[in-house]
Assembly symmetry: C2
Homo-oligomer: 219 residues x 2
DNA sequence: ATAATTATTTAAGCATACTTAAATTTTAAT
DNA sequence: ATTAAAATTTAAGTATGCTTAAATAATTAT
């Protein structure tokens, strides 16, 4: 499968996780930086390859084959991130940027070597689960977004779901890091802002942030 | 530059090393597994991009820009081979196979990280020199091919210039390995065969082999 | 030197993955 | 319910990197 196809199914896969399986060509076009027309075009082609179900004006649904392909690419992406993060002094944004290309040129053989070397990690440096060699995500995810977190409680950051350099920079500079503890000070229902503390740092986060920072409750 | 272009200039570069700067479209076509027509076509396109000098029916000559691009890709290829060889239990053929793809999707930034991690190695696991970040090969190569070696003398294997799995398997099974000592027993001028010993192993090698096994004289 | 072989080039065509512009359908607003 | 806005689709066109077939030039053999 080509790079374009791999990126297309990957985009559908990740978009459907957030967007309640209501991903349409326009969403993918925006994600991939291509025109809506190109996305529609590709959707038809992939339907012919049995990678997704396509019906005019309807949401794009990956077939089992399509999901497997997406998870195979996601696996390679996250394994590369894990390897680069462990070996080199690279930021979350940098490992993502490199993995975005390497993921398409990695044989299953090499992916397994990387996984083995790392001791078959279950999560990447962002906290995202790494699918196994069969394309299955076995670890159940009990984390919630900061937006769903409850005032007055403390949580451990488990995932930072983003590709954005500025976001990672912000997190880096404010202690919003995988494993760190955040305390939810106050939630403002009207503005949808959330005030949190990380160590001695107090932050006011808007929806854009609270939706992509995932946390686990502290027992 | 695209993968096709990178492979094209790389093929010219490596072919010109062996073929005395007499590389024509047909040679490249054969190397890359494309038609002669496609090679001629590409040569014209790359001339327009100032990557090579093209004149009808003449040999293809890389420009400085073309050579720099080729060496940049070669650098990445050999750094990947070095990294994969060091970290994983992979054969010379396997590291080559993977590097062939990874080389095109590696930023200069990542290449430098790999180089740094490895302590800026001068040679890859095949014994081939690794160009530096400026695309220069600083180490002078004093090695000669086994075909040029002298009867009765002992040499140390310094390079195995090949992409071929079977060749590597043969070498593996017969002690023809980077760093090992070979003794030139007898050369047959008519058949161009060479009889050598490696440890207690006696081998009769034809031209195909003696031309791609490089050695250094023992002082 | 000439003929035969081989290599190169030209020409026409194809698949992939995009583009823009226009038409159509859906969704949202009033 | 009707209109306005937004999204989707269709249609036509483009660049890249190939293909095969035919024409042309260069090389090799006799």
């Amino acid at each position: 499968m080509s790079v374009a196809i791999e990126n297309f199914v990957k985009a559908i896969y990740s978009n459907n996780l957030q967007d309640h399986n209501n991903t349409k060509p326009g969403n993918i076009a925006k994600k991939l930086g291509i025109s809506n027309a190109a996305a529609t075009d590709m959707a038809k082609k992939l339907a012919a390859k049995n990678l997704l179900h396509y019906e005019k004006y309807q949401a794009l649904q990956l077939t089992d084959k399509g999901t497997k392909l997406a998870l195979n690419v996601v696996r390679k992406h996250r394994l590369w991130e894990s390897l680069l993060f462990k070996m080199f002094d690279m930021s979350l944004h940098e490992i993502h940027r490199e993995a975005e290309f390497l993921e398409h040129e990695t044989s299953d053989f090499l992916a397994d070597k990387i996984s083995e070397y790392l001791g078959h990690p279950k999560f990447d440096p962002h906290g995202d689960p790494i699918p196994n060699a069969n394309g299955e995500i076995t670890t159940e995810d009990t984390s919630i977004s900061l937006a769903q977190a409850v005032e007055g409680k403390a949580y451990v950051i488990s995932r930072l779901i983003s590709d954005d350099e500025e976001f990672f920079d912000f997190c880096q500079h404010n202690g919003l890091k995988f494993g760190n503890t955040v305390f939810i000070k106050k939630q403002f229902s009207k503005t949808k802002m959330t005030q949190v503390t990380v160590f001695n740092n107090t932050l006011l986060l808007n929806e854009d942030f609270t939706n992509i920072i995932y946390v686990n409750e502290i027992e």
